[in-house]
């Protein structure tokens, strides 16, 4: 920068920020793009949404398939929607871990010093993760197909099932985002979120038919949001009875957003 002295004294074109409508949308999208660039730069951060569903599918289908369902193919048909739901739920944990790490860095102070809607950095981070959820859905279905899984309904229903899973992940994300605002270390976000997601994914219809579970656990299974997501995806992929699962899933989605988004935003504002 030694040449700085030779530069014109007023090198700055005066640009005045113009307030425009839909700032929240535009700013969130700009920040979502930032998340996407970061994801693109660190492909190893996609392991949880690529390798994990593959491992779970292979391990569960070939180890438990024969014992649980009598044949690996039958179990694969049953299990795939469940693995999709489970990995999409665990895939949400990463946003909490990332945000918790990010918050400690200077970039969030920069955002807070700009005339940006307070919620934009969080909304942007959540939206940016859509790509991760699309990847997990694609990978799970693709690996399933290689292993012999077949969607038995129509393409539209299948797409609806995939989109429902992605929507569920976007809404559930607000829980880890909230946790990220509240706890002190990324490790704590990871630990706490696993403690929450694991019971949800096992005490459900992900791995086994819930009717084989003890009665008290069935009560939990019936309200478990993952049960409804799995039920809805199974119905949309395989034509099993939908039994209101889609509506319950949408209700849970709304619940997550209504409950955890304001909590997360409030905690973010308070965060020094």
């Amino acid at each position: 920068m030694t040449t700085l002295l030779e530069r014109p004294r007023t090198p700055i074109t005066s640009v005045t920020p113009r307030p425009r409508p839909f700032r929240l949308v535009r700013h969130s999208l700009a920040l979502a793009k930032r998340s996407l660039i970061k994801t693109w730069r660190t492909p190893e951060a996609l392991i949880d949404v690529t390798l994990q569903p593959v491992l779970f599918l292979v391990i569960f289908v070939y180890i438990f398939g024969g014992a649980v369902a009598g044949s690996t193919h039958d179990y694969l048909q049953f299990l795939l929607p469940g693995i999709l739901a489970q990995t999409i739920a665990t895939g949400c944990i990463a946003i909490g871990v990332n945000l918790n790490t990010d918050l400690a860095k200077g970039i969030f102070d920069r955002f807070r010093s700009l005339p940006v809607p307070r919620s934009a950095p969080l909304v942007g981070a959540v939206l940016g993760d859509i790509v991760r959820y699309l990847i997990v859905t694609l990978v799970t279905v693709a690996i399933g197909y290689l292993m012999g899984f077949r969607i038995t309904t129509d393409p539209l229903s299948a797409i609806a099932g995939c989109l429902l899973a992605v929507l569920f992940a976007l809404c559930l994300s607000w829980l880890p985002v909230f946790v990220a605002m509240k706890v002190r270390t990324p490790g704590a976000v990871q630990g706490l979120m696993f403690a929450l997601i694991m019971p949800l994914s096992f005490a459900s219809n992900v791995f086994v038919d819930a009717t084989t579970l003890p009665g008290w656990m069935q009560a939990f299974v019936e309200v478990n949001p993952l049960t409804h997501l799995v039920g809805a995806v199974r119905g949309l992929f395989l034509g099993t009875p939908l039994d209101g699962h889609v509506w319950w899933t949408l209700a849970w989605c709304a619940g997550f957003v209504v409950c955890f988004m304001p909590l997360a935003l409030r905690a973010y504002r308070k965060k020094v």
Binding site: T3, R110, L114
Partner: protein, 319 residues
């Protein structure tokens, strides 16, 4: 009511648990001037800047930027300010250009203007060559320039620079000073925190000295130097046998002050006249005294604090 105070703060108080970061700080910066806030680590400088830049809400007291309250009209304040510090920084996983374009978008410049502005700033800060590299690959000096460029994207009227040169080598420090001068020449109002009296002296119109969350002095650089002592001329004659002759010459140029041997073989006298150094050089040359060191110093922060508070300042735990 002073009409043209761009930055005003009265009685700012901020506690973090038991740590009293600020205990009633007043600041005032007229339009188009530079205020240097001088203080050691943990004095409360950063807390004050964070309050003024709307990142923190004070426990008591109030502050206004361009007439807008930093708490009630935070949004208006954010449109007027640029912030550079050890904290408000850039995204390391983005390139320099992507960072600046992102901030341009967030400042509602519009896509084309954001792109143009990013290019302009990269050019100005000599970062064009590194524009498309991730910020985390930048050297310390480049990072500092990118941080500063990031705070200038919206052409802010008010710029906060929190220790902009800490950790930079002297040449890079001079470059940064030059940037600040350019900004002020362009009409900006600057609040700069620093641990160096030299820096405050070089840039600031007025200096506020804070310690333990309180203002302990406020003056112009010249006024402050009158209190804490001005420059000291230090000379090391090449031959120790020349020490008495050197001492006599130094005493003459400093109008009678006695030269002290502050380190072995190094003589020092306080000087008030800007011409003292050139005069000393001329006289030493005339007397045929070769020297190996000759320098002009302002008091260090420690010396400033010693004079102002009467106690040697010990390093505080950073608040």
């Amino acid at each position: 009511m002073t009409a043209d105070l761009v930055i005003e703060a009265e009685g700012l108080v901020k506690h973090f648990g038991a740590t009293k970061a600020l205990q009633g700080v007043d600041l005032a910066v007229p339009r188009g001037t530079v205020l240097g806030v001088l203080g050691p680590n943990g004095a409360g400088k950063t807390t004050a800047v964070r309050i003024l830049s709307t990142l923190l809400v004070p426990d008591a007291g109030s502050a206004r930027i361009g007439g807008f309250d930093v708490v009630r009209d935070a949004e208006r304040v954010r449109q007027a300010i640029g912030l550079t510090g050890q904290y408000a920084s850039v995204d390391e996983d983005l390139t320099g250009r992507q960072n600046l374009e992102l901030f341009g978008t967030l400042l509602d410049l519009g896509r084309a203007a954001a792109r143009r502005r990013a290019g302009e700033l990269l050019e100005w800060f000599d970062l064009t060559g590194a524009a498309d590299r991730m910020a985390k690959t930048y050297s310390g000096g480049m990072r500092r320039r990118l941080d500063l460029a990031a705070s200038l994207v919206g052409s802010p009227d008010v710029i906060f620079l929190d220790e902009p040169t800490t950790g930079l080598d002297p040449a890079k420090r001079e470059d940064m000073w030059d940037v600040v001068r350019t900004l002020v020449a362009g009409g900006a109002t600057v609040l700069l925190t620093t641990q160096y009296l030299e820096e405050a002296d070089a840039l600031a119109d007025e200096i506020t000295v804070i310690d333990h969350g309180r203002v302990i002095a406020h003056d112009t650089p010249d006024g402050l130097k009158r209190v804490v002592g001005g420059q000291t001329l230090e000379v090391r004659p090449a031959h120790p046998t020349d020490l008495p002759r050197t001492a006599a010459i130094l005493s003459e140029v400093s109008s009678g002050a006695v030269a002290d041997e502050i380190r072995k073989g190094v003589l020092a006298v306080p000087v008030v006249d800007d011409a003292a150094m050139t005069e000393a050089v001329a006289r030493l040359a005339g007397a045929g005294v070769p020297v190996t060191e000759l320098s002009l110093h302002l008091p260090s922060l420690d010396e400033v604090f010693f004079t102002l508070t009467g106690t040697a300042h010990r390093e505080e735990v950073a608040a």
